[in-house]
């Protein structure tokens, strides 16, 4: 079990051989994460604004939906979407296929939505009530106050937790391999079974870990920098 130089070179060469395929899979991880983040952010923003609505008929459902998706295991939500969503959707004359990766994207967007909703609510409520008062006494409507006065100020403090959430999301995308999406994790397993060499197991998974780390670490650093910048003053 002593790995000689020849073995190490052989392992590296094998990883290098599979890198283009697994790399393409990793691009799908990124695509899923970006789309899920976009969908979850738009839906979460709406839900978060619902949570601070002055009308209980809006506020209560928004709070319940938020809490439900924030406190559900991501993998279970993913399974649920895969099982629940149809293979294709028909909108009028159009039939849109729904491949597994799109369903997985929707499945991952749901917890993102719940978390973004809380980030939005918290960010808005952290602003002093006095900002609302002064906008209101200048005859701004509630909607104008929200879009022109409150949200522009709340976005900066919302950014670091939002980016943290994205880092959690990209690291959760390999969950999609369990439901058959051909992303980096699935393709790594595929490569390993094609090679059928047990000494490749650890190096190949290590290569995958390194790929995720290389992608996530700069985001984490950037988030930390933003946090420091926004922490001090209001």
């Amino acid at each position: 079990m002593i790995a000689g130089d020849g073995d190490a070179v052989g392992v590296l060469a094998t990883i290098w051989k599979w890198a283009p395929l697994i790399g393409r899979g990793f691009l799908l991880n990124i695509l899923i994460s970006v789309l899920a983040m976009a969908m979850g952010t738009v839906a979460g923003l709406a839900l978060g604004l619902g949570q601070i609505a002055p009308y209980a008929v809006l506020r209560r459902p928004a709070q319940i939906v938020t809490q439900f998706f924030r406190n559900a295991p991501w993998l279970v939500l993913l399974f649920y979407c895969i099982l629940l969503l149809p293979y294709q959707m028909t909108v009028g004359d159009w039939t849109v296929p729904m491949p597994a990766w799109i369903k997985a994207t929707i499945g991952l967007a749901l917890p993102v939505m719940g978390n973004v909703s809380e980030i939005v609510r918290g960010g808005i409520q952290a602003l002093p009530q006095a900002q609302w008062d002064s906008a209101e006494s200048l005859a701004f409507s509630r909607r104008q106050t929200l879009w022109m006065v409150i949200l522009p100020q709340a976005i900066k403090p919302m950014l670091p937790p939002w980016m943290n959430l994205y880092a959690v999301l990209i690291m959760a995308t390999p969950l999609a391999s369990i439901v058959g999406v051909e992303e980096a994790m699935t393709l790594t397993r595929f490569a390993l079974s094609a090679e059928n060499r047990s000494e490749l197991l650890l190096p190949m998974y290590l290569a995958l870990l390194v790929a995720f780390f290389a992608y996530c670490y700069p985001i984490a650093r950037w988030t930390a920098r933003l946090e420091r910048r926004f922490a001090v003053k209001h």
């Binding site: 002093p128 006095a130 900002q131 008062d133 002064s134 006494s137 200048l138 005859a139 100020q153 209001h234």
Partner: protein, 266 residues
């Protein structure tokens, strides 16, 4: 339409000599009550404020002064009683808040400028977005307002780069840009050092000279004595005593007023 109210209150209000006009009062509060949970903040406040007057509301902390002010522009809804502002029934649940707030400006203790906008943008925002006025016209007016408060050189500064007194003057200009007929000042000098207090009060005095009805909640007794047309002493949610400053400050009727003023330095 306002004549009835005017006649009714003309008799009730002792008119100070300086009163510019005697038509309907700018603000009339009648038996206004307000509680927050178990604590009763306003216990039946009645007050009439003539147009163009400077009224100073004084009294101990927690006597409901700020709440009184916030009831006038509907930031705080009243529980009962009536609030008439320029003939608008503020207590009416169907109140058009925006119409009310176009006439009533308000300035706060903590300035509350919008920190993500420059001084000039702070002044221009409401007329452009609320009144839908032409940007160039509004800019010209905003520039005139900033030069009036002698802060034109700070037009493109953000609030964070201004001193407290400067921020407060910008906040006043921001309210004035809406061309209100009534201005409410909620302890606007409480967070300022004496030099800044002077700057801000000079600005307020300027407005009063222009005939804008000014209502100030203040602890600046010197200002109240020198500038106010009417001083109103509140304690425990009621107006204990009101009258011209020379009366309130030299010869108050009520022992509570006397006691309070006895603790105040001028």
């Amino acid at each position: 339409m306002l004549d009835l109210a005017a006649d009714r209150h003309a008799a009730a209000v002792p008119s100070p000599g300086l009163l510019p006009r005697t038509d309907s009062p700018a603000v009339v509060l009648t038996d206004v009550r307000k509680s927050f949970g178990a604590s009763r903040v306003l216990n039946g406040v009645s007050l009439s404020i003539p147009r163009g007057n400077v009224t100073c509301v004084i009294g101990p902390s927690g006597s409901g002064k700020s709440t009184l002010l916030r009831c006038i522009n509907a930031l705080t809804p009243v529980d009962s009683g009536s609030v008439l502002v320029d003939g608008i029934a503020v207590h009416d649940p169907a109140l058009d808040k925006l119409a009310l707030r176009r006439r009533v400006g308000m300035v706060f203790q903590q300035y509350n400028l919008f920190p993500h906008k420059t001084a000039l943008e702070n002044v221009m925002m409401a007329p452009i977005h609320v009144l839908g006025e032409d940007r160039e016209e509004v800019e010209a007016r905003a520039v005139a307002l900033l030069s009036r408060i002698r802060l034109l050189d700070k037009a493109h500064s953000y609030p964070g780069a201004l001193s407290g007194g400067q921020q407060q003057r910008v906040a006043i200009a921001r309210s004035l840009a809406m061309r209100p007929t009534i201005m409410l000042f909620d302890e606007v000098t409480a967070a300022l050092d004496p030099v800044m207090v002077k700057e801000v009060l000079a600005t307020v005095r300027d407005l009063a000279d222009d005939g804008i009805t000014c209502i100030l909640v203040t602890h600046e007794m010197g200002f109240a004595r020198d500038v106010a047309d009417q001083v109103c002493f509140t304690d425990q949610g009621i107006v204990v005593e009101e009258g011209p400053p020379e009366k309130i400050f030299t010869n108050p009727d009520d022992p509570r007023t006397r006691d309070f003023l006895g603790h105040v330095r001028f």
